[in-house]
Symmetry: C2
Subunit: 411 residues, 2 copies
Amino acid sequence: MKNSKRKLIILGSGFASFSTLKGIDTDLYEVVVVSPRNHFIFTPLLPSTTVGTIEFRSIIEPIRSAKENITYYQAFCTGIDTAGKRIDCTGALDGNIFSLPYDTLVIGVGAVSNTFGIPGVERYGLFLKELSDARAIRQRIIENFERASTPNLPFEERRRLLHFVVVGGGPTGVEFAAELHDFMTEDLVDSYASVLPDVSITLFEAGDALLSSFDAALSEYTVRIFQRQKISVRLHAQVAAVEEKEILLKDGSRVPYGMMVWSTGNTQTSFVRSLPFEKDRGSRLITDEYFRVKGQSDLYSLGDCATIEGKVLPATSQVAQQEGYYLARSLNAVAKGRTAAPFIYHHRGMLAYIGSNRALADLPQVKGRGFSTWIFWRSAYLTKLVSWKNKVLVVFDWMKAFVFGRDASRF
Amino acid sequence: MKNSKRKLIILGSGFASFSTLKGIDTDLYEVVVVSPRNHFIFTPLLPSTTVGTIEFRSIIEPIRSAKENITYYQAFCTGIDTAGKRIDCTGALDGNIFSLPYDTLVIGVGAVSNTFGIPGVERYGLFLKELSDARAIRQRIIENFERASTPNLPFEERRRLLHFVVVGGGPTGVEFAAELHDFMTEDLVDSYASVLPDVSITLFEAGDALLSSFDAALSEYTVRIFQRQKISVRLHAQVAAVEEKEILLKDGSRVPYGMMVWSTGNTQTSFVRSLPFEKDRGSRLITDEYFRVKGQSDLYSLGDCATIEGKVLPATSQVAQQEGYYLARSLNAVAKGRTAAPFIYHHRGMLAYIGSNRALADLPQVKGRGFSTWIFWRSAYLTKLVSWKNKVLVVFDWMKAFVFGRDASRF
């Protein structure tokens, strides 16, 4: 009986792959997940973890316990042998090499942060894609506050250490700047009162608006709120290079900084670039409306590493999640000899937190902003969290931050 | 008014220093804390954090928010100028050098793990004194389970990766072995079912008993329970050297291992060793019964880095905490022109967790063991936790681990 099941390998553990995994019927498929990250992250709440509004563990779901009767390998896929129907893997922890057979392969490996080849970004910048990134940011914030508190420090050096820069005015950059502002005004204000007047936050955006995918009125509202919160917003500002203590802009000016978070969108992984399949200009794998990789059989791709031919969908968790659940249903149908209808994306709207208990909601029916929208933002994300465990933990984290404040220890 | 207050510098942020800080009257003293660690850790619950029974943040207390109107510097003290009444400091994060004046100085810098100069311990062993140690242990456990799950791994290598060794049969080593056992049998059993038969835990102790400071019957009970829990206890086992994958014992045998936690007691820091004051054979600063450093004025020392002349007190958190609270009361009295009575230690007893919801209690009036003692163990530690915040968080962590299990993600 067991051997009659088709071997399904899923590459990746982000929204697209994890949703496929959650939806797949393990009575129909023998499922193997291969990913260097052994947990799923609910990335919409990742900015909240940087300052401790939410704990790291509250927004993750271990792959091994996400579903029964699956196999998981903490490894990178390094190559696909479509003729022999095998994949090559390298252990993420020890570099051990092994290969696995598949009948059906799902490529949902996501994308990586795009530095546009700007010198110094990789070396001096911090990113915001993984929990380890969020932890590095949290530690750096506290480290800089502690360093700025050293006696006899020159004024200029203290100001530099306490200048927090965010590059990229998309939802992640905006939400991180907002959380940073809350952390400083609500929590660090007591512990670091003497240096707080020297703190500044700057958000650089190369385009002409923050949250350009949102309704224009909401985007302008965000700029106004940020100004009131003393977050300096600099539009049309392009970074030319990053040095250890200064950012060089294309207009020739130099900006001293203490921490820089880089959040300017994604680019493809070297693995996806190396695959010999048809791709679009952004190096994404081209698929049909069933997520079948163009010109290949038994090969599917979805999420940030793929694009449906003739359609343009944003690289959001909402899209990836819908794609994953669709693909699971579709594969379950295929195994039963049926065929699913093509994928259709249902846009439910966009949400963003902008600080001081205010949020934006850009929904198909309505545009909302302010405090009541923030309540909606929290409820909506709570509903979207994958497991009951995560829902309970996040609610407790919010209560904890409300009652006891956020923690400013560094360890 | 402000300038009439005496300048009190406290070095350290462990039980002794933190208790002094909590008890000191900031109307009487202008308080400065200098310590490379910006938080206090409730170390008796540190073994529980290694496997996620308790979260890291639940057992710490940031120094800056522990008390109002104090100054804190994240720095090492490197020298004391008793004639000029100043201390030299080096910033823990940036190496910046500065000096601070004092009227009264309290040295409570604690001790460091003792490797007895055994080759390889520092390089390959993990310790259990700080939260960063606990995190490193947690990550290594999961890493080894993931590596052991790689396909086609030789049997011997899998057994090696899953051999967890604890060196030192004191309370920390015993409690860590117990937590490790619980984690594996209660949580990893589902996620890593296929490799679980290859797991082993060994506890090496150089002496002839575990928990030698406890009542002999309780010590023997622990060995019996550990045997039932398949924790192999090896008494009279002395480590000669540690290599990357093998431990060499003095009897010439070689023991392959995947992770080794070293917990064999403490030795003095290089800072305390460098001080030109009178010390005992263990390099601890000798004080009188008021914690005044012998032959010095306005200089106090307590906790693991000090010893009262003619008295032998164990290096436990209980002793350090009582000393700290006493010293605060005593210094408050001195500032008011009064003198406190000499310090007297009140032994309240000892507790240890030994796994599977069983604990030991060695109290002056009664010796307890088993499940009901475990309930007592939890209640007692809850009472001892310093802040309400920590009490609430630890209770929630226990509930969380009970309902949802411990988390096995690595990030």
